[in-house]
């Protein structure tokens, strides 16, 4: 326990140090370069000294980055975010316990109504501030840059394809020397938003192949479950011929192979740019500033050079109905999060939002009254 706690403290300290140095250079760059993308965002500090938020644990590290950027912009201001899971975030937000909530999936209709009540009758807005790329990671010595398409991926994860040298995989990987080996699928045995999004992705993109449905429990019916992202990436690392879905930061740090995804317009590698491209082209389902992303459209997108398998998480805020102090602080924090807060996200495993998307978010934040 102690060891773990110390580790966390150490990690935090290290992250903090990284961040501080990063912020230092950030503040200098725009001043000399003239491009004021980061600094030009006018953050109007003030209001409540400490905001509170609660919810999705998938965005914890990103929120930490945001908070650090916020504290750098606005001296003496802070945000306490409690990563207790999306469900709790929604609950605490609706019952006015926290100023904003974090969630992996948009509110359902009845939840929207309840949340509106909390905002004194004003609509609640979803602001998609944090996007996490999910990698299809594999361990197959001698095969670099494996290419998969959604149908093949779905078939691997529901057991219809059992061997690496299956004709379907061969067809996608012309020159690769695919062994006659069983595919070992690893999945998350705990309930997780990553599983949920991955299954939604397969459902939307692999037309008709993935019939198992979505949800936070893996439904593929094959393979071995491991707890947490660390567990699955360790499992793949230790097992030749295995494959899993995991946040890209874990795949990278375990040095696993990451499959390129061919959604119909050629294989796309998972990079900030390709994931950013998918986000930039994402359709917004919500009305006006309520920026609910149309996941089906995003996941089934065939846009060239876009990597669509990303986990979308939202901040829940009131469009109106906070008291004046809270309004000011919420706006200041979210402006920072949508602006300079995005710059360091790559390091902690998220996709920094593309420019146009930031502008949209900034407009939405400005409209909070």
């Amino acid at each position: 326990m102690n060891i773990k706690r110390h580790g966390a403290a150490l990690g935090l300290a290290a992250a903090g140090a990284l961040l501080l140095s990063a912020c230092g250079s950030d503040n200098n760059a725009p001043a000399s370069g003239g491009n004021s993308a980061a600094n030009g965002v006018n953050v109007d500090c003030g209001g409540k000294k400490q905001l509170t938020g609660e919810g999705s644990s998938a965005q914890t590290n990103a929120i930490q980055e945001f908070v650090a950027a916020y504290a750098a912009k606005c001296q003496g201001f802070d945000v306490a975010y409690n990563p207790t899971g999306s469900g709790n975030g929604i609950k605490q937000f609706t019952s006015k316990q926290v100023d904003f909530g974090g969630t992996d999936s948009p509110l359902k209709d009845d939840e929207v109504a309840k949340a509106a009540e909390r905002c004194q009758g004003n609509p609640v807005w979803h602001l998609p501030l944090v996007f996490g790329p999910v990698a299809v990671a594999y361990n197959l010595p001698g095969v670099d840059g494996l290419v998969l398409n959604p149908e093949t991926t779905a078939k691997i994860f529901n057991g219809q394809i059992k061997k690496w040298n299956d004709p379907a995989i061969k067809a996608l990987n012309g020159g690769a020397n695919l062994p006659d080996k069983d595919i070992v699928v690893f999945f998350r045995s705990d309930e997780s938003g990553t599983t949920d999004n991955f299954q939604k992705y397969l459902q939307a993109s692999a037309k008709g192949v993935w019939t198992q449905g979505g949800g936070k429990q893996f439904k593929g019916g094959v393979g071995e479950g491991k707890a947490k992202s660390q567990g699955v990436s360790d499992g793949v690392k230790a097992t030749e011929g295995s494959i899993t879905y995991v946040e890209s930061s874990f795949a990278k740090s375990a040095k696993l192979g990451v499959a390129k995804i061919d959604s119909g317009a050629g294989p796309v590698e998972l990079t900030d740019a390709s994931a950013g491209r998918a986000i930039a082209s994402a359709k917004i389902k919500g009305q006006g500033n309520d920026m609910v992303i149309d996941l089906d459209a995003l996941y089934s997108s065939k846009e060239a050079g876009a990597y669509p398998l990303v986990l979308v998480t939202y901040e829940l805020v009131c469009s109106k109905g906070y008291d004046a102090d809270t309004t000011k602080a919420v706006k200041a924090f979210l402006t920072t999060a949508a602006g300079p807060g995005q710059d360091n996200l790559t390091k902690v495993g998220y996709v920094p939002l593309p420019k146009e998307f930031r502008t949209k978010l900034e407009d939405a934040v400005k409209a909070i009254a």
């Binding site: 326990m1 060891i3 773990k4 644990s57 899971g85 999306s86 469900g87 709790n88 929604i90 070992v184 999945f187 045995s189 705990d190 309930e191 997780s192 979505g214 949800g215 936070k216 429990q217 893996f218 439904k219 593929g220 019916g221 094959v222 393979g223 071995e224 479950g225 491991k226 707890a227 567990g231 360790d234 499992g235 230790a238 097992t239």
Partner: protein, 367 residues
């Protein structure tokens, strides 16, 4: 030296009632008995009390008596109320989920609680993994613990016994997450060749047949059982040691005087004397194994397939399943499904303890 034998003799004078009580359980009671018996003044007072106190009908009560009695009764009542409250809470939370359940809770192995409108959960598979890991752990730990306890009480030089006992106790202080990490990163891979050998040569025995996860992944009942065995080792050892230490010196000396060898002495005096305590220590260990969570959460590989009743099955125990789901208890029905599983674990542990008590009680009668 002569002092202690005297005390022992006086203790053995009350041997019959004392003995009946001593094995009744846990170290606490036997330790308490031992503490009071050498204290000679207490004996006469209590006999005097029963002799003359009864007719007087108003025994002397000092405030200390009342306070102590009050706290003791309070503590006793508190634990009973607490356990009843836990049981009641589990039951109340579980009932709505059980009502909404669409499959047999005790007869199905499906676990699908994503959609609260079509809950499907059954504990059959969880129960198998829970029982299999715990029983395997017990089977591995019991003989080793017996050996350690006997070594510490009757074989080890006195100077070595004490620090050695501390070291064994230290094992109980290692956090279970450490055991879990050790199990999956170190022990698991080491056990793979053993598991493969067992599977190859004894595969015709169902217990060693191919399970529902890969043997090379090591996230199976075998690895979990071995780790659990190490975890419950100190519990069983500590309690058994206390019990074996209480073997009346007269019995030991008597056996030796009759010409018994050391092993014969241990077999004829120490083990019969401590058997009930040893069994009850093992049940205590079994209770710990049944409820162990984090280590198994890390070790066991999850699977959607049904278990094949093999040591090479994966899955989850009841406790580790709850931990796996705990991050996302978003609605009461889903949470209720897990709580219902917890209720079964509660009942199972209760049954195990009751069984232990029954074994101890039977031993007491026959002894």
């Amino acid at each position: 030296m002569s002092d202690s034998t005297l005390a022992d003799r006086s203790a053995s004078a009350k041997e019959t009632p004392g003995r009946a009580r001593a094995p009744h359980g846990a170290p606490g009671s036997s330790r308490g008995g031992a503490a009071s018996s050498p204290d000679t003044p207490e004996g006469p007072i209590s006999t005097a009390n029963t002799a003359q106190g009864e007719p007087a009908s108003t025994p002397v009560r000092r405030p200390g008596d009342r306070v102590f009695r009050g706290t003791a009764v309070g503590a006793g009542a508190f634990i009973v109320v607490l356990i009843a409250a836990i049981g009641l809470f589990l039951l109340l939370q579980a009932v709505p989920a059980l009502r909404a359940n669409q499959v047999g809770f005790l007869t199905s192995g499906v676990w699908n609680t994503t959609d609260p409108n079509s809950l499907q959960f059954g504990i059959l598979h969880l129960l198998w993994v829970t029982v299999a890991t715990s029983v395997l752990a017990l089977a591995l730990a019991m003989p080793v613990s017996l050996g350690i306890a006997l070594f510490l009480t009757h074989y080890a030089p006195r100077r070595l016994a004490r620090p050695f006992a501390y070291v064994v106790d230290l094992l109980a202080a290692v956090p279970s997450i450490i055991f879990g990490l050790w199990g999956i990163k170190v022990l698991g891979p080491t056990l793979v060749p053993v598991a493969e050998w067992l599977n190859r040569n004894l595969g015709f025995v169902p217990l060693f047949a191919q399970g529902n996860v890969s043997i090379s992944g090591a996230g199976n009942v075998l690895t979990a059982g071995v780790v659990l065995a190490v975890m419950i080792l100190p519990v069983i050892t500590a309690v058994s040691r206390e019990v074996f230490e209480r073997t009346p010196k007269e019995h030991i000396e008597g056996a030796l005087a009759l010409g018994a060898t050391k092993w014969e002495m241990v077999r004829t005096t120490v083990i019969p004397f401590g058997k009930a305590g040893y069994v009850s220590a093992s049940m205590l260990g079994l209770g710990r194994a049944l409820g162990e969570t984090v280590a198994l959460y890390l070790i066991l590989s999850g699977t959607g397939a049904a278990p094949k009743l093999s040591f090479f099955d994966g899955g989850a125990t009841i406790a580790s399943k709850i931990a796996l789901g705990a991050g996302e208890f978003n609605n009461e029905l889903t949470a209720g499904a897990y709580i219902a599983a917890g209720l079964v674990l509660f009942a199972l542990t209760f049954a195990v303890n009751a069984l232990a008590r029954a074994i101890v009680a039977r031993k007491k009668v026959s002894a």
